[in-house]
Symmetry: C2
Subunit: 195 residues, 2 copies
């Protein structure tokens, strides 16, 4: 019963993460109800972003240039290692951090068939050597895979004489102890600091 071009647009929206048929339909209708300029802009922005944005050959984050601004401007004495580009966005909120980033593009996950050679570990070691980096901060997610990956990488970095640290784990600001899980509380207690 459907109109072909509408059906195709709905299917495109359905490919976005977490979008089902109803939501895709709603998005498609909003395009049809919007202005032609908006649709043109949307359409162009998709192609512009997709064609212009590559991975920075140093840190692996998204970049329009071969080497991203961060890698050019920031302090290479400290490298903050994260799993994905979006984690860079999160860490950039910390204004006191002035080092560069390194995006692994995944964590080691035997369950998903991802070994150490499938993520950007080799590139990290090369950067540490080339820069003479003093500290590597492992900022992978505080979950089993993130912890295992951080541990694995730290073993490889040890012989290079670089200091390897891990983001502290503990209770989040503004949270309530009542709802904190056991593991978080255990780690917060173990890593308690003198006031």
């Amino acid at each position: 019963m459907y109109i072909e071009s509408l059906e195709k647009l709905i299917n495109s929206f359905r490919r976005l993460p977490g979008v089902g048929y109803k939501t895709a339909q709603r998005y498609a209708y909003s395009i049809l109800n919007g202005t032609l300029e908006n649709a043109k802009e949307f359409s162009n922005n998709i192609m512009e972003a997709k064609t212009k944005i590559k991975f920075c050959k140093e840190c692996g984050n998204f970049s329009e240039t071969e080497v991203c601004e961060n890698c050019i401007k920031k302090n290479k004495d400290v490298i903050c290692v994260v799993k994905e580009p979006k984690d860079v966005v999160a860490m950039e909120k910390v204004k006191t951090f002035n080092g560069v980033f390194h995006v692994l593009h995944g964590t080691i996950s035997p369950l998903e068939n991802r070994g150490p050679n499938d993520i950007r570990i080799k590139e990290l070691l090369e950067r540490v050597k080339a820069y003479g980096t003093k500290e590597v901060i492992m900022a992978t997610n505080p979950d089993v895979e993130g912890d295992a990956t951080a541990m694995y990488i730290s073993k490889l970095l040890e012989p290079l004489g670089v200091k390897v640290t891990r983001l502290a784990q503990g209770v989040s600001m503004g949270s309530e102890l009542e709802y904190a899980d056991e593991v978080t509380l255990t780690r917060a207690l173990e890593s308690r600091v003198k006031i």
Copy 2:
């Protein structure tokens, strides 16, 4: 800190209904992580849908042709009046209905400054006269505005000698009485049918 073309794509996604910054970012990243073909297809589908799809000059529903398939093929003795194109999709699920539709593109809403002349009422009256339609089914939403609009239109149709009906209101299939609201239960009771 952001990449311009990425920021622009995120902003485009944010214009979709109900999409905030985090979701828009997730959508944009999925485009960047996807294939170039997918991005191209998405970009083209937006422009194709936007340029090809117009409103059917008869029923007002989305259509790639001047008059939609429904209006050409279906029985014009019965017109089902709905608020929006997506309501046509909903009503089309009812396989026993074989009539044509009429999309009002809104309901009368003094609060939102929409009067009878802002929705497609005049066009409905013209169609009823031209077709010699026997029945008009008011399928606007069962809310205050939908009811008021249905009532208003039925008064205008009365002099034309056409039968005007309204979708029955009552308890939904599969729902639990316990959670049904007062108005729904009152209407279900008033319209009770003999078994």
